[in-house]
Amino acid sequence: MKYLCLVYLEKDKLRAVPDKECKASSEGFRHSGVLMAAEALQPVETAATVRVRNGKVSVTDGPFAETKEQLAGFYLIDARDLNEAINAAAKIPPAREGSVEVRPVRELEA
């Protein structure tokens, strides 16, 4: 089953884990066959939010959530069950600086 591990970090911790370490850990995940995709993200200030209402596209800056932590990256993994996914998430280096939300992927119905 696929799980998306969403990495959340406070702004001043976005660079707390060296890139080298993140690279090495995703290589490790890839080798063990759990990892399907992983990326780090630019800070939330660089984001644009897009909505379509009545066929009209609106673009705003943001999102600016109330919470201090922002989405900083993601790991899409393939795990047998939640316990295996939790074990993998615990090995994501920024987990020690911020938090990792482990979300099961919902397969779209045919």
């Binding site: 089953m1 047998r80 099961p104």
Partner: protein
């Protein structure tokens, strides 16, 4: 008209003795809580039909598992709405006793542990863990749980439905944790059991009557876990619950008033429970892998050993609180340690420690901190300080019997103190220790 039917009675006995174990195995075999529960009901319906005709089978539990599994697969096939259908079908047709499902005896024995660990999975909300454990492991009805927790039944039912949906959708596995995961996961299970016990024991709100059952249920769970997984802290928690339970008859008066440890009639303490608790504490201490439940149980055991409050070995208790501060430090533990020090070294030593905790702002909203402070001030003759602290404690308490208890203390304070026969003001220990 009550015609006693021996077969119906036998089925009933089997239900009481085995339904939870059958359910635990069916969840493993069928991979879904709701399907397994339905299968369990179907299996007992089948037993009521067949056993009067064929007699009670030699191994009723195996029979019920096989019947439940057969009924479930049959039902799934007829409805054919499950993707897992082919998967289940491949495991083969089932005869009267499904040897394949039963052959792995060790697996069957572990099923109850699987069920406990799944219901107490940390990915589930704490209140959902409690509700699910009482529903699935203990077999309480949703209405019973709702009543005991003073929660509307629909709220509780929804909590259970959501928890089961999460187990399914997030794929929380039905397994006993690996040795590496065990300490953390076991903590979660012990927390659930102790929470259930305390709901019944302390009765933070509401009437006591229905809540007694929760303590009994928690002790039953503790015994089950001790049998399945005799880890030191499992034994420690069971000991702690038994030692608290041993004082049940002594801790409330006939009118329902709370009686402090010091004022309890110790002849009402249940010696059998104390002996059992004591043995478990020793067993856990010998392992040298014990933790905070065992230390708390050891403290409780020291109280239990004292024939009168004056005989309490406060030196030993302070030593145990020191150990507890090392394994599981918290402001509440620090408060209890301060009270023990007051008993060992005198009230002013304890008061200085409590004032330091309160000054830090850690327990300013905790009623027992103010109650303990009030008591120490009283013993030091600082009546005005004692009064202020009692009033603060009363303002913070939610529980009726506790409020009345504190109001009595406050009232006694305002009257000229009747000094005890020995010529010393009555010393009283920790109110939390009742």
């Amino acid at each position: 008209m009550t015609l006693i039917d021996p077969i119906h009675e036998a089925v009933n006995e089997v239900y009481v003795a085995h339904s939870r174990r059958v359910l635990a195995t069916l969840i493993r075999l069928l991979g879904d809580f709701d399907v397994a529960e339905e299968a369990l009901q179907d299996a007992f319906r089948a037993a009521l039909e067949q056993w009067p005709r064929d007699g009670v089978p030699a191994n009723p539990r195996a029979w019920l598992v096989s019947a439940g599994r057969f009924k479930a697969i049959d039902g799934l096939r007829r409805r054919s709405r499950f993707d897992a259908l082919d998967d289940v079908g491949e495991r083969g047709e089932i005869g009267v006793i499904d040897a394949a499902a039963w052959a792995d005896a060790e697996s069957v024995e572990d099923d109850r542990l699987r069920l406990i660990f799944t219901c107490c999975h940390p990915a589930l909300a704490p209140d959902a863990q409690v509700a699910l454990t009482l529903r699935e492991v203990c077999g309480l009805t949703t209405e019973q749980i709702a009543q005991a927790f003073l929660t509307p039944a629909p709220t509780l039912a929804q909590r259970i439905v959501r928890a089961k949906a999460k187990i399914r959708d997030a794929r929380i596995p039905y397994q006993v944790p690996t040795p590496a995961e065990l300490p953390d996961r076991l903590d979660a299970v012990l927390r659930v059991i102790y929470l259930v016990f305390n709901e019944g024991y302390e009765a933070s709100t509401g009437s006591m009557l229905t809540r007694h059952d929760l303590s009994a249920e928690a002790i039953r769970l503790g015994r089950l876990l001790a049998e399945l997984l005799p880890e030191p802290e499992v034994l420690g928690l069971l000991a702690l619950m038994l030692l608290h339970e041993s004082r049940r008859a002594a801790r409330t008066s006939s009118t329902g008033e709370l009686i402090r440890l010091d004022d309890q009639d110790r002849s009402l303490w249940d010696r059998q429970l104390i002996a059992e608790g004591g043995r478990l504490v020793e067993q856990s201490l010998l392992s040298r892998r014990f933790g905070s439940y065992t230390i708390q149980a050891a403290i409780s055991a020291v109280h239990s050993e004292a024939p009168t409050p004056a005989d309490t070995d406060w030196k030993e208790i302070v030593g145990l609180y020191d150990a507890l501060m090392r394994t599981d430090p918290s402001p509440v533990v620090e408060l209890n340690r301060s009270v023990a020090i007051a008993m060992r070294d005198g009230p002013s030593a304890g008061l200085a420690l409590i004032d330091a905790i309160l000054e830090r702002g850690d327990l300013t909203e905790y009623r027992l901190a103010h109650a303990a402070r009030a008591d120490l001030c009283r013993r030091l003759g600082r009546v005005a300080d004692a009064r202020r602290s009692y009033e603060r404690a009363i303002a913070l308490t939610q529980q009726e019997t506790e409020r009345r208890f504190l109001e009595r203390q406050l009232a006694n304070l305002q009257q000229p103190r009747s000094v005890a026969a020995a010529g010393q003001p009555r010393a009283s220990s920790n109110m939390g220790e009742v």
